[in-house]
Structures are given as C-alpha cells and as structure tokens.
Symmetry: C2
Subunit: 205 residues, 2 copies
C-alpha cells in the first residue's frame, strides 16, 4: 500500500501493531481520526503518553494501579486469606463485575506456554509462593482458562504450592447458566454430570 | 465494565470511539500497549498529536497532504484534463496502487445520504463544478460505489456538470478478473452480458 504522507504512514504503522488490527483497519481508524475534532485527537495522544507514565503494577498482586498498591489490595474490607490467581487484568475486571468475590487477586501476567517461549520465570509465580510461604494465604483459587497452557500452569502452581499449607481450588466447570443443553459441548456436559451438585446448593445465593 | 484506573478508563474510551472497536477490543488494545516498550507507546501518542497538526487537505482535490497541494496535484506528469471523482482517500490509495490511472483526483469526502443527514452541501461538489467551469477538465470519471448513496451522488453530479463541456464516465462494471462465473451475482453477470466488450479490447494492455 502506498501512503501519500509520512505522518499518515507512521500513524497507520502504529495502529496496525495493535492486536487484531491489519493495515486496512488501521487506515480506516486514522482517516476517522482525521475527521474527528482536533482537540479530541490531541487528547487521545495525550492519554497514550500518560498511560505508561501514570500506570504501574501493584506491588502485591500485579494488577494495574496508579499508586503502589491497587484499589483491591488496599481495601481493608477484602478477605486477605483468599487469593484468586488469574492470567491477566481482564480476568480481574471480569470477576470483579460479578460482585461474587471478596478476596484478593494475583495476576500471573500470562500462562506457561513453551510454544510461545513463555516459561514460569517470566510469570509472577515467585511472588505468589512468597505470599503463601509467609502464611498469609489459606486458599488459592486458580481461575485459569481450560486450555493446554492453562492446565500446564495450574499443574505447575499445584507443584509449587504443595509445600505450603494452602488449599488449591479451581473454578466450577459445567453447563452455562441460561444455556440450552443441546448447545453444550460433550466434554463440558460429561463433566457436569460427573461433578453434579446437590439441588440445595443452587438455592444458596 | 468497572475499570480500576482513570487513565486506563480514558484510554479505553478513546480507543472504543474508533470505528469497529467495542469496549472489549479497546481494553485488549490498551493492555497490549501496557506491555509494549514505553518509548514505543510514547511515539504512538506523539504521532497522534502530530496527525492533525501536520496533515491538511489539498486545496485542489481534497486529498491528504502535508503542504498546500498534494503530491498528485503537484506532479507535472499527471494529465490535468481528467479528474477521477472518489468518495474518500482510501479510494485514491486503491486506484493509485493499480498504476493504471495518470489523471488527477477529486475527493468528495462522502456520498449524498439523506438517511445519515449528508446533503450535497457537505461534500466537495462546488469546487468540482468550479474546476469544470474554468474549462480545465475534459473528462470526469465517477469512481463511486454502486450503492443507493453512490448512485444518488452520481446522478447529482451528472445534473450539476451537465452545463459544462465535460464528458462523464463511470467505472466498468462486470465480472471480476480471476473470479469464477458461478460466484458472480446475477445483476453483475446480467449487466456484463449486455455491456459485452469486443475481444480485441482485452488484448490492449
């Protein structure tokens, strides 16, 4: 693609480095920005420049924060004995939106994936072991994807946390609420029969 | 969606205003930027801020340019008697990439669309009439989409340019080169039979 101007080319290049954005979508975005008010575009640029300056990772759980500890870790009402281990910050946001969890989090920053060259040392696993070693944590809930990478990471965590007095649990797997049985995949449906739950459990909110 | 930080929220907001980007994709992009090197993100922000300052629209054809006239309009080798009318800059880039056209362009900046509240006065039509009135233009090639809006705009241009000594032509419509006949839609296929072309025309490069 021949681009008529250097700034335009640089902007398309920057956008097309974002996940899921190709050259054509990037061009569409830049042309959209050329039509939006100048001060709005300037604000966009300013926000991007502040993004890396103002945001850092929480010292305790590696969530995003503006300060030293994130809002969740510094909230005295949260249960500090339960830690929910997640892959990245999107999972924290998703679980927070359910309002069903009152413990703390621990963001791994990825999953073990030898194919992508990601080993345990690149993830925030050491700091989780440290926390468990200090006896602060009673239960670790592994809220990881049920993929090859998620299962590998879960098994690694299980091995690593075994020496400490920590209960390890995983998310309940089963047929989605509101989902029709016929659309559930066979593995999930099969597992949901084996791990069936007493009816009384559903009555508890 | 509850976002843990204000800068993060602003960044997601800015991204989700782009065409085709929802809240979840915007979050994915911002988290991607948080993982990329800080100087790269800063450069991204800088490019966005320069975008509106450095770029303007060509005085003659409304294409994007860094100066007063765009590269195409200021190129003495281009044929100034032929003007290709297009909807936006993406079409200029697409046609330039074919290397089959040596005339000038005229970017309308949209199509007439009463449904979206876009009338002829919001488009760059007056300046096209001015050019035609000055006798600079011999042929206007309307390279517009064959949609309701494209056809409406074409008809309006036809009416407006009728008083001037200007030939008006449109792009050839027909079965795509390399396309199997069975996948062509009926309207296109029907039109391509009616507007069939002598075999000798295909031999001319």
């Amino acid at each position: 693609m021949q681009i008529p101007s250097k700034v335009l080319d640089e902007a398309i290049e920057a956008f097309s480095r974002l996940p899921g954005i190709g050259q054509k979508s990037a061009l569409r975005m830049v042309l959209h920005l050329l039509k939006t008010p100048a001060d709005e575009v300037e604000h966009f640029g300013e926000v991007l420049q502040r993004l890396r300056k103002d945001l850092r990772y929480c010292r305790n759980c590696h969530n995003i924060t503006a300060g030293d500890l994130c809002d969740i870790c510094s909230d005295p009402r949260r249960d500090r004995s339960t830690v929910c281990v997640v892959e990245d910050i999107r999972d924290v946001i998703a679980i927070e939106n359910t309002s069903s969890y009152k413990g703390l989090y621990h963001v791994l920053g990825g999953l073990i994936s030898p194919m992508d060259g990601i080993g345990p040392s690149q993830l925030n696993i050491e700091s989780l072991c440290d926390k468990s070693g200090r006896g602060e944590v009673q239960e670790v809930i592994a809220a990881l994807s049920t993929t090859m990478e998620g299962d590998t990471t879960l098994f690694y965590l299980y091995k690593k946390l075994k020496p400490y007095a920590v209960r390890i649990s995983t998310l309940a797997r089963g047929v989605a609420i509101g989902g029709a049985l016929e659309y559930a995949d066979e593995v999930t449906l099969g597992r949901s029969i084996i791990n069936r739950v007493p009816y009384e459990n559903h009555l508890v909110k």
